[in-house]
């Protein structure tokens, strides 16, 4: 699974993209967030601002109950500021 980060979420993640092996017990976005938070403190900091974090899977907005597939591309980013 590819994980992408943008804007200040990218700064906190210290990367704009990483590839992870999706563990068996990670079924949805919520599970993935819990998995990442356990892995490293930097994710804890990102998801402590969870009410601000937007999620997209395969380039469409989703919410935390969205079911994941190992080939998905997921992205975490803050509210958008274009226009």
């Amino acid at each position: 699974m590819i994980i992408k980060y943008f804007s200040w979420v990218k700064d906190l993640a210290e990367t704009n993209e990483e590839t992870i092996e999706l563990p068996e017990n990670v079924k949805d976005v919520e599970d993935l967030i819990n998995f990442l938070e356990k892995k490293n403190n930097k994710y804890k900091e990102i998801f402590s601002k969870k009410h601000l974090i937007k999620i997209a899977v395969n380039k469409e907005y989703v919410n935390t109950s969205f079911k994941l597939d190992k080939n998905d591309e997921i992205a975490f980013f803050p509210p958008v500021t274009g226009g």
């Binding site: 804007s7 469409e60 980013f77 509210p79 500021t81 274009g82």
Partner: protein, 154 residues
């Protein structure tokens, strides 16, 4: 809706509103409304902005803008839509975004253009960072932009 022309472009280069407008003026158009957003020279706090850098999520950006344009097409009778959004480093006074809508009826063109920019501001994955004297800040999303959506029945 057969003849409807939709053009969406994400680019570093500047755009020419006259050229884009002319492309939207088709035989029966009559009315054309466009919005152009530009980089402000300073903040409300009067701090001077040296530059503005825009990043985006390639692929998702185009999808989202097309979703928004499709909503507008369902809601109003319009003849053509062009959305151009710049990315990369921009200077104060530079144009950032162009939304042009042509229609036979001017109120449709006004409403659809207004709707598209309101939704683009809150849904299209672009992020601005401002370079002030010595510091680089990510621009915060504004409640005002979320509130702006309330006037549309979606």
């Amino acid at each position: 809706m057969n003849d409807l022309a939709v053009k969406i472009k994400i680019q570093e280069a500047d755009f020419d509103t006259n050229y884009e407008n002319n492309n939207l003026i088709v035989n029966n158009t009559g009315a054309l409304v466009n919005f152009v957003g530009t980089v402000r020279g300073n903040l409300e706090s009067s701090e001077k902005i040296l530059s503005m850098t825009l990043e985006h999520y390639p692929g998702m950006t185009e999808n989202e803008i097309l979703n928004i344009v499709n909503k507008a097409i369902k809601k109003w009778k319009i003849e053509g839509v062009t959305v151009i959004h710049r990315v990369g480093r921009l200077l104060p006074g530079d144009k950032i975004v162009y939304v042009g809508v042509s229609s036979r009826h001017r109120q449709n063109a006004f409403d659809a253009c207004n709707f598209i920019i309101d939704w683009l501001k809150t849904n299209a994955p672009f992020w601005k960072s401002e370079e002030l004297e010595g510091i680089k800040n990510w621009v915060q999303a504004r409640d005002e932009d979320t509130l702006a959506l309330k006037k549309w029945n979606f």
